[in-house]
Subunit: 111 residues, 2 copies
DNA sequence: GCGCTCTATGTCCAATATGACATACAGCAA
DNA sequence: TTGCTGTATGTCATATTGGACATAGAGCGC
């Protein structure tokens, strides 16, 4: 019931360090969700830099702010998947590319 | 392939911010974002039914409620991608399967 | 050193999503 | 018909996310 919610909130407070695989207390679904966010966050940064855009430029494209973009790329707990997806789409990334980012998530799991 | 169906559901979901939903007035990014949600919503329903779960059962797994699951499957505008992703993961769907759902969301007819 | 640009982090509060609840509807069986 | 099960839809109080802003840090050329 509240178990996953509470734990998610808890983890959100300090999950910016390192690989998602070391969250030993997370259930597989929770771990995958976190890894998903990390993968998309990394994707946003990668594509943005590839384009030579600043965070402020992407923010403007999104109608958001530089600080939000920074948090997003840091996979801050206060940033939703929605914003990440919108960012990728705002950079013209195709769903097939997004799918690639997601497909990579399941690979590394044991810890 | 499912353009008209997607559009119908989109209209049913009351998707645009202002007037009656019209798919064709959305920018390409906005349209892709909506289609992404539609695809994931359909995926949630498909996998749930495949498993023989009721909406209430999935809701319990999620720590959510039947009404929210119903809205989610209807791609209601009040439901985030986060909840959809969590739902898929809660059903044990692998990221590679989710990637498949997303990969299918390629471009629709340009305005 | 300074100044400039880009990024990180933290705090506001308005906007939005949330679960819970009520209730209506659809289908089916007795 | 009634009763039961599952789904749809609307509302609401509370929780969470949003953009905006301030500010600090990092890197770089001068």
């Amino acid at each position: 019931m509240m178990d996953s919610e509470a734990r998610k909130r808890l983890e959100n407070a300090g999950w910016t360090a390192g690989d998602a695989a070391d969250f030993l207390e997370l259930s597989p679904e929770e771990a995958r969700f976190v890894e998903l966010k990390l993968a998309l966050a990394a994707g946003v940064r990668r594509f943005r830099e590839k384009r030579g855009w600043t965070q402020a430029a992407l923010a403007q494209q999104l109608g958001s702010s530089q600080s939000r973009v920074a948090k997003m790329e840091a996979a801050d707990g206060s940033v939703t998947l929605d914003l990440m997806m919108r960012s990728l789409l705002a950079m013209g990334i195709m769903p097939s590319e997004i799918a690639k980012l997601i497909r990579k998530v399941e690979s590394h799991k044991a810890a």
